[in-house]
Amino acid sequence: MMTGRFLARVLEKAGCACRELETPSPGFACQLEAQADEVVGLVRIIAANGFFLESISAVDRLKEKKMDGLYLFNHYEESQRLMIRIEMDRSNPVLPTISKIFPGALWYERELGEMFGIRVAGCPDTRNLLLEEDAKFHPLRKDFRGRA
């Protein structure tokens, strides 16, 4: 179970909107699962409690035809890693932008868009970050084996 006053405050305010895992994996204090439309509200509570954005990434689950968006947060005063997992349909993965709350999220969202093809709704800048400007392929998808 998680400890730490900041994390406890976050979960208290978030209520039962998201499901929490019983035993988090090693390295995590808490793992939450939520829906895409709950993300912005949850992240606002997290930001208000002083957490910083560690990373935004994704996992492509080809066999189950799903894609997971992962948000990692941590705190400067005590190390409490919090992960939020958003399960999306692989054929149309959409996430809301949190760049208005955490400005540093913009680059992570650009990278998600080009590497996985995840559309981030409301993202002010959707250019490719690491690939060429006109690259249209998504390398980190499991069915990608090299440029044609």
Binding site: L131, E132, F137, P139, F144, R145, G146, R147
Partner: protein, 170 residues
């Protein structure tokens, strides 16, 4: 012999060219083109222990207009490829290229079947004169590359080549 990878001159002045080639060989000004890890070994080669300046090659120019030799140190990606070619074309003749490190020679550890972003060897973009293997090559290897380049220009080598270590049979 001394024109590098450009079209050689039509009229040759034998003795004058010998002087020019010796002068060029002793003052090869490199272009700072460090892309990845090999850049650090290139900087070490210009550093105090493996001094490149004693061969006349310590004046690293940031602009290709003033450089003679381009040391491609590091991995060349598809996004960087047009820049490499443009810099090579901006260098005035005679010019030479040293491909430093495994990535510049053949893509190195990134030559894989799902490779989507690494150019497998800078020789696919520009003509290369000397290849320096290693990941990263030691600074002494870069010094040897300059000695080999001098040998390519003038026909003679400044220091004798180190004798090969005899292989043990069996």
């Amino acid at each position: 012999m001394g024109a590098g990878s450009t079209v050689p001159p039509i009229i040759h002045f034998a003795q004058l060219e010998k002087v020019f080639n010796t002068a060029r060989a002793n003052s090869l000004w490199p272009l700072t083109f460090g892309l990845a890890c090999c850049a650090i070994e290139m900087m070490s080669a210009a550093g105090p222990r493996f001094d490149l300046d004693r061969f006349g090659a310590g004046v690293f120019r940031a602009t290709p207009r003033q450089a003679d030799v381009m040391i491609v140190a590091g991995t060349v990606t598809e996004k960087m490829a047009p820049t490499v070619v443009r810099l090579y074309e901006q260098m005035p003749a005679p010019k030479w290229v040293i491909a430093m490190g495994n990535c510049a020679i053949s893509g190195g550890p990134f030559k894989l079947d799902f490779n989507y972003n690494v150019v497998e060897g800078v020789e696919r973009l520009i003509p290369v004169d000397v290849y320096v293997p290693g990941c990263p090559p030691r600074p002494e290897a870069l010094v040897e590359a300059f000695l080999k380049l001098e040998e390519k220009l003038t026909g003679t080598r400044r220091f004798p080549e180190a004798p090969a270590i005899a292989r043990e049979e069996g």
